[in-house]
């Protein structure tokens, strides 16, 4: 929880209000809060419903532990990040046929993603407009309509109320009783994003440089299409959800957190570069802006398909298919550079040949969903390799993420006490700032600073 007395500003219908700062000397109040524009008073922080002044908690080189432990902040994040911003829901390949659907969570909002009879992708709130029952309790299926189990109300794939049993008692116009749905649903490379905010910017603008990251991922398929159909592993973390985006693009921890993995698996594998010393490592940490951040391994790859742990002669069908689709020069470039390793703000991770979703549950609980990226137009044995690599890296019994989850859970235990500041200064003195991105050494916290810079902007908007 937050310190007993803390400087707060609360966004309410009447505007910004600030609250007294006492007994917490490490806050530099004058730098962060313009008192003239804020109403000053003191509140006990145990009220749990007040959102703080984020400027006081997020500095350019450190963040405060309450960001991981405050229920008020968690509730504010659901509203500002997950309901007002663009959020990843699923991939269109998961619902290939008309009437196919799946259910997911956007923040704490249950949703249905369904392929309409006409072939479009529709996203709906998974809540009957009558009495709020969870309309569709299954994880996936095929349904021509959605019928509520409670009173039999029936809805179309686009959320219209089609029929109600016992029509005689109907007192209001059915058209007023549609399912709620996101203000916008849009796609990039088959990745479906939604926002509940009618005033939000177009998806392309929101994605910015991340559009290129998605396109480069799907273009590793000779047909330009990928399938996220192998199933999702779900790894539970007793930890705040923001540790997932932070850790996913932390290029510093691997030699330490994953030393058992590297000792066991790295020799003669694509992971060998992770065992190099600081000066040998060529990969970069990149802040692409808008909270989209990446670890760029391209400079480390010395031969085609190193990222796949194989060579061209072992997967000749794949090499030929890529050359036929993209021409020899572009195909070779793609086979050299491989997939991206990037977090797309706030909840999507392109983890090389895996896609992951960060699902918040509560302030100290979250789930990492992961699935391998299967390529269309390649041999079954290549996709089998991708499944096996995903099992090794991402799920509950994986050789990598299982260790990360324990570290995050230990962080959460440590942060729940008196708390304090978390240092994010690594690399500040050597990162290079370009017009559209910031790059630095793979081990630098350029990525985490990029996440928090955008987080601060959105939470204050």
């Amino acid at each position: 929880m937050l310190p007993d007395i803390i400087m707060f500003s609360v966004i309410s219908q009447t505007g910004l209000h600030a609250f007294g700062l006492q007994g917490f000397a490490s806050f530099k109040t004058g730098e962060h809060l313009k008192m003239s524009t804020l109403e000053k008073r003191t509140i006990p922080t145990t009220s749990g419903t007040r959102a703080p002044s984020y400027e006081a908690l997020i500095e350019h080189d450190r963040v405060h532990s309450s960001l991981y432990t405050s229920t008020a902040i968690f509730e504010d994040e659901m509203d500002r990040l997950f309901y007002r911003g663009w959020v990843f829901v699923g991939h269109e390949s998961e619902i290939p046929n008309p009437n196919d659907y799946l259910t997911r969570m956007i923040g704490l909002e249950p949703v249905i993603m369904v392929r309409t009879k006409e072939g479009a992708v529709s996203v709906l709130s998974n809540r009957c407009a009558h009495r709020g029952n969870l309309l569709c309790p299954r994880q996936s299926g095929n349904a021509r309509t959605f019928v509520c189990d409670y009173h039999g109300w029936t809805y179309s794939h686009t959320g219209e109320l089609l029929s109600v049993p016992y029509r005689g008692g109907e007192a209001v116009d059915r058209s007023c009783l549609s399912l709620q749905k996101p203000a916008r649903t849009d796609q990039c490379g088959g990745f479906v994003f939604v926002t509940f905010n009618p005033d939000s910017e177009p998806l392309g603008e929101y994605l910015g440089a991340a559009k290129g990251l998605i396109e480069s991922t799907v273009s590793l398929s000779p047909t330009g299409r990928i399938n996220l159909t192998a199933g999702w592993a779900k790894l539970h973390f007793q930890a705040n959800w923001k540790m997932l985006p932070e850790n996913s693009t932390d290029g510093y921890h691997a030699p330490f957190t994953h030393s058992s993995f590297l000792r066991t698996f790295a020799p003669n594998s694509q992971y060998e570069m992770l065992t190099q010393g600081e000066d040998e490592r060529k990969s970069r940490a990149i802040d692409w802006g808008r909270g989209h951040v990446a670890l760029d391994h391209v400079p480390s790859y010395e031969r085609p398909l190193q990222w796949l742990g194989t060579t061209e002669d072992k997967v000749p069908e794949y090499v030929t298919a890529m050359e036929e689709s993209y021409g020899p020069v572009l195909a070779r470039k793609k086979l050299m550079e491989g997939p991206v390793h990037a977090t797309i703000f706030p909840n999507l991770f392109l983890g090389e040949m895996n896609v992951a979703i960060f699902q918040p549950i509560s302030v100290d609980e979250c789930v990492l969903w992961s699935t391998p990226i299967l390529l269309e137009g390649v041999t079954d044995s290549l996709n089998h390799r991708l499944i096996r690599q995903s099992q090794a890296a991402m799920g509950p019994a994986s050789f990598l993420l299982a260790d990360d989850s324990v570290i995050s859970e230990r962080q959460q235990v440590a942060l729940e006490g008196r708390g304090g500041w978390l240092d994010l200064s690594r690399g500040l003195l050597r990162e290079k700032r370009h017009e559209h991105m910031i790059e630095s050494h793979i081990s630098d916290e350029t990525t985490n600073r990029g996440f928090w810079t955008h987080y601060l902007k959105v939470m204050q908007a």
Binding site: K234, H236, R263, T264, I387, G395, V406
Partner: protein, 175 residues
């Protein structure tokens, strides 16, 4: 499940009961060694051919064409154990104290040298390395055992968790 060997009126051991007792003793030992994270002794129970499989749940699980929680053939299982033995496998550092119970054991012959064992299990794991909470795992085991000159060896262990498709905490121990 009572594994007491039943004696015939003449004092001879019923060969069917003797075989059953040996098989049950094998799977109980397998569980005890896994509970106690005795990796070398557990690995010594394996045949050279092995599939250690924890499906993700859902219909039509397949270790090759679908994602699994674990689908280790012998070499990957060897690596899994080697990683545990580095003393730096953080998800099992320190190793979880565990105890599991087997029940409803059904034994069916596959061939004259191979046997299938089906049973239910519950496993209590103390997640001492992170949240310090007790985690309950439950589901069904399928073993396939093969008789070798040196005794019974396991060449297949499938673990169907009742909540395999749901979010699970780190599962780095031998389940």
């Amino acid at each position: 499940m009572n594994e007491a060997v039943v004696f015939s009126p003449t004092g001879e051991v019923d060969p069917l009961q003797r075989g059953r007792a040996e098989i049950c003793a094998f799977v109980y030992k397998e569980c005890r060694l896994a509970d106690e994270s005795q990796y070398d002794a557990w690995e010594a129970l394996l045949d050279d051919e092995m599939l250690y499989w924890v499906p993700l749940g859902g219909s039509n699980p397949d270790p090759d064409s679908k994602l699994s929680i674990i689908a280790d053939h012998r070499q990957r299982l060897r690596n899994r154990i080697a990683q545990l033995k580095t003393q730096r496998r953080l998800a099992q550092q320190p190793a979880s104290p565990m105890r599991r119970m087997l029940a409803n054991i059904e034994i069916s012959p596959i061939s004259h040298t191979e046997t299938q064992v089906l049973c239910n299990f519950t496993l209590h794991e103390f997640r001492v390395q992170s949240t310090a909470e007790v985690q309950v795992w439950a589901g069904r085991y399928e073993y396939r055992l093969r008789r070798r000159e040196e005794g019974l060896r396991m060449y297949y262990k499938r673990v169907d968790l009742i909540n395999a498709g749901d979010a699970l905490p780190s599962l780095a121990f031998l389940i």
